[in-house]
Symmetry: C2
C-alpha cells in the first residue's frame, strides 16, 4: 500500500469552508509497516448548530429548499481517544425519548459515521455525540436534516474542517436516505444556508441562489401528526402536461423571485403549485383556511412546509408577519380544530450549520 499524506486545512482554507479557524493541528500519521494513514483530531470537543429548513417550496417540490433562522438542533461531538473510528450517541434531549441511541439507526449517528469516512484518512479516535433537539419531529421543518447537518459539522470541526460543506452533504444525504428518502432539499440548505436549487441528486448537483436583502417567513406548526405514508401515497405518479407546464413556469418564477430579491414574487410562486399542494393540503385539517387567512392578513403567499403539517407564509416584514401569524394560528384552531405547537416569524438563514 502506498503511503498517503493528509494535510490539516490551513486557517484560510478553514475560513473558506465556513469553519471557525483553529490552530491547525490535525496531522497524518503513518503506522509503520502497514501503510495505513490516520488523521488526528484538533479539538477535544466541538458543538454545532443547524437551522430549520423549508423544502418542497410550492412548485419547488423535491428540488428547492431554504434555511430559516430561529430554532434548530445542536450536536456536541467529543473525542473518544481509545475507540478509533467508533461513533457513540451519548445522549439525546428534546425528542421525548423517541429517537434511537444506536448510531447506525439515528440521523446524527449516520451523519457522523459518514463524515468520518469523508475525512480523507482513518480517524485516530472515536466520537461521542450529544444531541439537543430544538426542532419538533415530523413537523415538515427539516428536523432530521438539522440533526444530521449539526452532527456532520460538529464531527468535521473536531478534525479542523478538512471536508467542505459541499462534500459534507453526502454525509447528510446518507442520513436522510435512511430516515426520509434520498433528497437533498433539506440537508443542503441545513448545511449551507440560503436557498439551494437541487439540479440533481444523483449525481449531486447543487446551485446556491443568493437572495439579496431580508426575507421573512411565518412558520406555524399545528399539533397534528401528518400521516407520512398517506402524504406520500397521494402524490400523483403521472401528471398531466398542463400542470407540468404550470409548475415548471412557476418554479422558474420562484427562482426569478429569489435572484431578483422579490419577496412578493416568491410568495406568488409558492401559491401556484398545481401538483403537490392540491393533494396534500386537504390532508392537513384547516390548511385551506390557514392559507386564506394568511393572504387576508397580508402574506405574499402560503404553502405547506416540507411534507407538512407546518404551514409557511412569506411576508414583507416582521410586523406584517405578526399579524399573519395570529391569523394562521386562529385559522388552525377554528377551521382545523388544532392547537398550535409553535408559531414564529423568522428570517432567511444564509449561513446554515455553524459552530456554537
Amino acid at each position: 500500500m502506498r503511503a498517503q499524506r493528509v494535510q490539516a486545512p490551513t486557517p484560510a482554507a478553514a475560513r473558506q469552508a465556513h469553519c471557525r479557524p483553529r490552530p491547525a493541528r490535525a496531522r497524518a500519521q503513518q503506522v509503520a509497516g502497514q501503510g495505513k494513514v490516520y488523521i488526528d483530531p484538533v479539538e477535544k470537543e466541538a458543538a454545532a448548530f443547524a437551522p430549520a429548513t423549508v423544502a418542497n417550496l410550492g412548485p419547488g417540490f423535491d428540488w428547492m429548499g431554504c434555511a430559516v433562522e430561529g430554532d434548530g438542533d445542536i450536536v456536541t461531538a467529543r473525542v473518544l481517544p481509545d475507540r478509533p473510528g467508533e461513533v457513540v450517541i451519548e445522549g439525546i434531549e428534546g425528542d421525548g425519548g423517541r429517537l434511537s441511541l444506536e448510531a447506525p439507526k439515528n440521523c446524527v449517528g449516520i451523519a457522523a459515521i459518514e463524515t468520518l469516512k469523508l475525512l480523507g484518512a482513518a480517524p485516530s479516535c472515536g466520537v461521542g455525540l450529544r444531541l439537543h433537539k430544538g426542532l419538533p419531529l415530523g413537523s415538515g421543518m427539516g428536523s432530521s436534516a438539522a440533526s444530521a447537518a449539526a452532527a456532520a459539522w460538529a464531527v468535521n470541526s473536531l478534525f479542523g474542517c478538512p471536508v467542505g460543506k459541499d462534500r459534507l452533504i453526502y454525509a447528510g444525504l446518507a442520513s436522510e436516505a435512511a430516515v426520509s428518502g434520498y433528497h437533498a432539499d433539506n440537508i443542503a440548505p441545513a448545511l449551507m444556508g440560503g436557498f439551494i436549487l437541487i439540479r440533481s441528486c444523483d449525481p449531486l448537483d447543487l446551485q446556491r441562489l443568493p437572495f439579496a436583502g431580508d426575507l421573512w417567513f411565518v412558520l406555524v406548526n399545528p399539533r397534528f401528526e401528518a400521516p407520512t405514508a398517506e402524504m406520500r401515497a397521494v402524490l400523483p405518479k403521472e401528471i398531466p402536461m398542463k400542470q407540468v407546464i404550470n409548475n415548471c413556469a412557476m418554479g422558474g418564477s420562484l427562482v426569478a423571485g429569489i435572484l431578483t430579491g422579490d419577496a412578493a414574487l416568491i410568495g406568488k410562486s409558492l401559491d401556484s403549485d398545481a401538483i403537490v399542494e392540491p393533494v396534500r393540503g386537504p390532508l392537513i385539517p384547516g390548511f385551506a383556511a390557514v392559507k386564506e387567512a394568511a393572504h387576508a392578513a397580508g402574506a405574499f403567499g402560503c404553502t405547506i412546509s416540507g411534507a407538512g403539517p407546518t404551514a409557511v407564509a412569506i411576508v414583507s416584514d416582521p410586523e406584517v408577519g405578526e399579524r399573519v401569524k395570529q391569523a394562521m394560528v386562529a385559522a388552525f384552531r377554528t377551521a382545523g380544530q388544532l392547537e398550535v405547537n409553535s408559531a414564529k416569524v423568522v428570517r432567511l438563514d444564509n449561513e446554515g450549520a455553524k459552530r456554537v
Copy 2:
C-alpha cells in the same frame, strides 16, 4: 353613449413603449350626435421589423422564449383614408406564395385587426399591409409570431403607439391562436425582445428576464418539413413525477442561468429536458448527431428550436459559434441526409419589434 376622450401618447410615453417618438398628432374625434370616438393616424406609413424567436427552450417548453438578432419579418402599414377600420393585405413577398392574402386568415391581418381594437377608439382610417418574410415558414424560429409582431407594431406606430408592448401581445396572441395555438412564448419575445418567462397565458402573466452581457446562439435550419401533427402527437399527455421534478429543477436552473448571465448554465439547462426533446428529437433526421457534434465543437448546450426542425446551440462567442455551426451543418448532412437552408451565429435580441 358617453363621450370618450382618447389622448395621443406623449413623446415620453412613446419612448417608454419603445416607439420612436413622433409628433403626437393622434387625436380623438367625436362624431356629433353619435358619441362614437375615433382615433386618427399620425403617420401615413410605418414599417416595423420583428426578429426570430426561440421558444420551447429545453425544459422551458411552452413557458420560455427569447428573441435573436439577425433575420426577421418586416411589415409596412399604410393608411387607407377612406376605408375606416378595414385591414387589407396588399402584398406578401418571400413566402413562395404560400400565405393567404385574406386578412382574417393571415397572421399579419389578424394581428392588425386586433391592434386596431386595442387602440382605445375606432380608427378613422383603414390599414393596408405589405409583408416581407425574412424567416422561413414552419422552421421553429417563430415565423408566424414575427409576422404578427411586426404587423402589430407597424399598425400601432401609424397611430403614435398608443398601445404598450405588454398589451399589444394580445393582438399577437390572437394571431398565434389562429395559426399555431394560444401560446405566448414566441409572440412575447418577438415583440418585447430578450428572454420572456410566460407565467400564465390565461390570464396573461409575463416576466421579462434580463440577461446581462452578450449571449450567442447557433441556429441551423435543415431542409426538412417537420411533421407538425406528429410533433404534437408525440408529446406525452401525462408525465412521470421523476421527469416532472427534473424539468422543474432544470427550468429553475435555466432561469438562474439567464439572471446570473451564465451562458454555460443556460446551455447545460437546455440539454436537460427529459420530457419534450426525447420524443421530438428522433423525428428530426440526424438531430442526435447534430447535438453531439455541437457539443464536440464546444457548444454549452443544444436543443430543438420551437417545434423544430431548427436546432439551436448556445456558445460562448462568435468564434466558437462558427466552429459549432460547421459541425452542426455537417452532422445534418451526413447523419440526417439533409441539406441546410440556413445556418447562423446570432446574438440575443433585447429589443424585439422595432421601427425600420
